[in-house]
């Protein structure tokens, strides 16, 4: 979430889930909320139907929330910077900006103004396909509403310029002063249950817990004191770079805890080659995953209902999970395994419970310092929570931004790394669906969920289907320059002409065999949302 951190000084969701219910206007983009964050979608749908809140939807697909939308902007995939700049162009030229906020709370406005001046609605229409009139309406609605909230997810970040997409949304919020108050803000929705926590706890190559920098001696010092070692000062590798380093032989041993890169990483063939090149691959998981199948050592762990601990949700709320049943066989909690291993390698760790570890987390992580297991026994607390009297923080940046002044960034539209051409005429976009989850190691082993989506599928527009002689339910081969998979045709109007959608949950039709490894240079997020493919009916 590098984009938000640049603009505000913190990459976390600025407002809260309950707070979304108070909004007068939503700008929703790159999130199929009713499928991927269904309960957050209920807050939005209620605000629209019961309170008359307005909803601007910017999405290439005709998703469920479209039914609730006041305005639907159907941008071509990969053109987000353009239409967001376009909204700001309208806001500035019509004088709808919040000058007081811009002057008092932000910096670099002149540069922004200069950049967006060329993104007139007419110019943006050419790039994005969004009618100029709709863009103007959306800009006015967003800027003029009492409290407007931006909500986004992977559809914004999983692009080669994903960081710029996020910065652009932050620009828009600052320009209009739609931040730091109830019902406003820039709100990224996290996909998996503890993405926020994994970031806070610094499973990131450049950070120590609470976003301290590994490169700063002063940041390392408190950790070195508590941990009793001196720490490495060079930024480590991100996932895509770890995979590359494994392929080149620079990384020889890889320890994977609860992750399945064989399914979730772009370009699966490349990942497979890399993993097979390792001297040691350890996989710690509840099931034998596609990645586990390549491992030298597989360690069985306790599942979600078999251990104690905390998760931090998308609104920064630290909440308990509790042991309800015993783990099967000899499986044990991940923390126990890591402790055993650390001690075998000469450490002297004495944790006897998840709570012991959390107490250490509190000690070294300022934003978690006031949170205790006792305090969150009944209801979670939102960080920052600096001391045990502090009630937690629902809205960030209300008096000042975490970094002081909000920073406008200059972002220009660039074309996606791969666009359709004669040979590969269709634009493939990927994502999740309601009934499955991530790489589906869990959800495909649940009777109820499986019963709702038995087969891997591709969504395709009726016109494209007709041209290719494809009918609903046909078996289809989808190919890109990197590989091909077989799926069933779901002919419907959700995608625009020329665009197809495939969910990425299915191992027998791993859509990441088709995607490419072009990545955002700042956030290192792969471009899943745009690649070129061709399809044909399998005889």
């Amino acid at each position: 979430m590098a984009g938000l951190a640049t603009a505000f000084g913190s990459g976390a969701m600025t407002n809260s889930i309950t707070d979304l219910g108070e909004s007068d206007c939503f700008l929703i983009t790159g999130t199929n909320t009713t499928e991927n964050h269904p309960v957050i979608a209920t807050f939005i749908k209620r605000a629209v139907t019961h309170r008359g809140a307005k909803l601007i939807l910017a999405d290439p697909r005709n998703i469920e929330l479209g039914k609730f939308a006041t305005i639907w902007l159907r941008q071509k995939p990969g053109t987000d910077v353009a239409w967001i700049n376009g909204m700001m162009n309208v806001i500035i030229s019509e004088g709808l900006l919040n000058e007081k906020f811009v002057t008092e709370r932000t910096e670099n406005f002149e540069a922004l103004k200069a950049t967006v001046s060329k993104y007139t609605p007419e110019y943006v229409e050419k790039i994005s396909g969004i009618p100029a009139g709709d863009l103007k309406k959306a800009a006015r609605l967003y800027a003029k509403s009492g409290a407007s909230a931006i909500v986004y997810a992977m559809g914004i970040t999983q692009h080669i310029n994903g960081t710029d997409n996020v910065k652009s949304l932050a620009n828009l919020a600052m320009l209009t002063g739609q931040i730091g108050r109830p019902g406003t803000g820039v709100n990224p929705l996290r996909g998996q249950n503890n993405v926020q926590g994994a970031c806070d706890m610094a499973c990131l190559p450049g950070n120590l817990p609470a976003y301290k920098k590994v490169t700063e001696a002063a940041d390392r010092k408190p950790f070195e004191d508590v941990w009793g070692v001196s720490l490495p000062d060079k930024v480590g590798f991100t996932i895509p770079k770890i995979i590359d380093a494994a392929a080149s032989g620079a990384v020889k041993a890889l320890y994977v805890m609860g992750e399945n890169p064989m399914m979730s990483d772009p370009d699966v063939k490349h990942v497979e080659k890399a993993l097979k090149n390792l001297d040691l691959l350890v996989v710690q998981d509840i099931f034998l995953t596609e990645t586990g199948n390549l491992a030298h050592v597989v360690l069985p762990t306790a599942g979600w209902s078999e251990k104690e601990g905390t998760y931090t949700n998308t609104e920064r709320r630290v909440q308990r999970i509790r042991k309800a049943v015993d783990a099967p066989g000899e499986a044990r909690p991940d923390w126990e395994i890591i402790t055993l291993l650390a001690n075998r390698l000469g450490a002297n760790w004495k944790y006897a419970s998840a709570k012991d570890i959390f107490e250490e987390v509190r000690k070294v992580t300022v934003s978690y310092a006031g949170i205790t297991y006792d305090r969150i026994e009944k209801e979670g607390i939102q960080w920052p929570c600096p001391n045990t009297e502090h009630p937690g923080t629902q809205i960030l940046h209300s008096a000042a931004f975490t970094r002081g002044k909000g920073l406008f960034s200059v972002c220009e539209h660039i074309d996606p790394a791969e666009l359709p051409d004669n040979e590969y005429p269709l634009l493939l976009t990927t994502g999740r669906i309601l009934y499955q989850y991530h790489t589906a190691t869990m959800s495909r082993r649940s009777k109820g969920l499986v019963s709702r989506t038995p087969q891997p599928f591709v969504e395709i527009h009726p016109d494209d289907a007709a041209k290719l002689g494809i009918a609903h339910g046909d078996k289809i081969e989808v190919s890109s320059r990197r590989g091909s998979i077989e799926v069933f045709a779901e002919v419907n109007g959700r995608c625009d002409k020329g665009v197809v959608f495939i969910p990425f949950h299915y191992s027998e039709a791993a859509v990441n065999r088709l995607t490419h490894t072009a990545i955002d240079p700042v956030a290192n997020i792969p471009e899943y949302k745009v690649s070129a493919v061709k399809i044909r009916k399998v005889a």
Partner: protein, 351 residues
Amino acid sequence: MVITIDGKKCEFTAGQTVYEVAKANGISIPVLCHHEQIKPVGACRVCVVEVEKARSLVASCAMPAEDGMVVHTSTPRVLSSRKLSVELLMTQGHHNCITCESSGDCVLQDLAYSLGIESPRFGEPETYRELEQANEMIVRDMNKCVLCGLCVRACNEVQVNQVLDYSGRGPTAAVGPAFGLTYENSDCVFCGECVRVCPVGALFEKQGRFQGRANDLEKVRTTCAYCGVGCQMDVNVKENRILKITTPREGAPAPNFGSLCIKGRFGYDFVSHEDRLTKPMIRVDGELKEATWDEAIAYVAEKLGSVKKKNGPDAVAGLSSARCTNEENYLFQKFLRAVIGTNNVDHCARL
């Protein structure tokens, strides 16, 4: 502003109903078709009270409190009216508590018991409706439906899924998806909100059926295993097995206030799947073979140690999971940084 309930002076703010004021002041009035997150409709008349100067009994759940009102919640007139209402509800359907999933956690059962209704004055209807149990998640037994309408209103007002509606009148009155469709063939997304609010055993979870009811179940509060919303839920356990996931009918905490989606409510059974790994394994001659923990830990430690020695700490890398806890993620990065000595640690947030 003040109203008097059973002799007690109760302060209230404009917009509060008599029922809400009573509840806030520790005076309990039974309700059936009322739910704190749903607009009151005053359908069942279980919550009636006597208001001085009002001609008839009023439904307290739908009656706004007015300054100076004097209310009595358990006069003989109230009790006999309530009793009649409950008896009528009981005789609308077939209530066989012996095998009902809701026994022990049923508003109608509690009402009949507390009002001392040994057996209702009227007979049961002749028709018996087939149960709908084709889908894997929710069973509908319309023989036990009391037509409170909470499922319809929850589907529309709370989840805004607009799947359920009322149909028919009198003896053919019913609730369900439009055109008499089954849940499975309708637009239902199996969020289970209707199951949560149903006050009786007309809608219930399928998988744990006949395996344990309210009094045998232990509820363990936890956070959903799936997406970043972090919904709070109760895992219902009997003899070391998860029988269902529920949320409190009322008074549920943030962030979800009792709502869930299909994954949270019905996606729990992966934990007891036969594919679960139960023993450490080490690859020997190309194949994964079972090993003891001691062997596995020794093997990994030895290999990590030798890679670190020969190729330096940065030849080691770790990928952690956004599905592991904070404690586990903290320890994982501490392990790589403090024990191995590398910053090569990342997780799948970007993916």
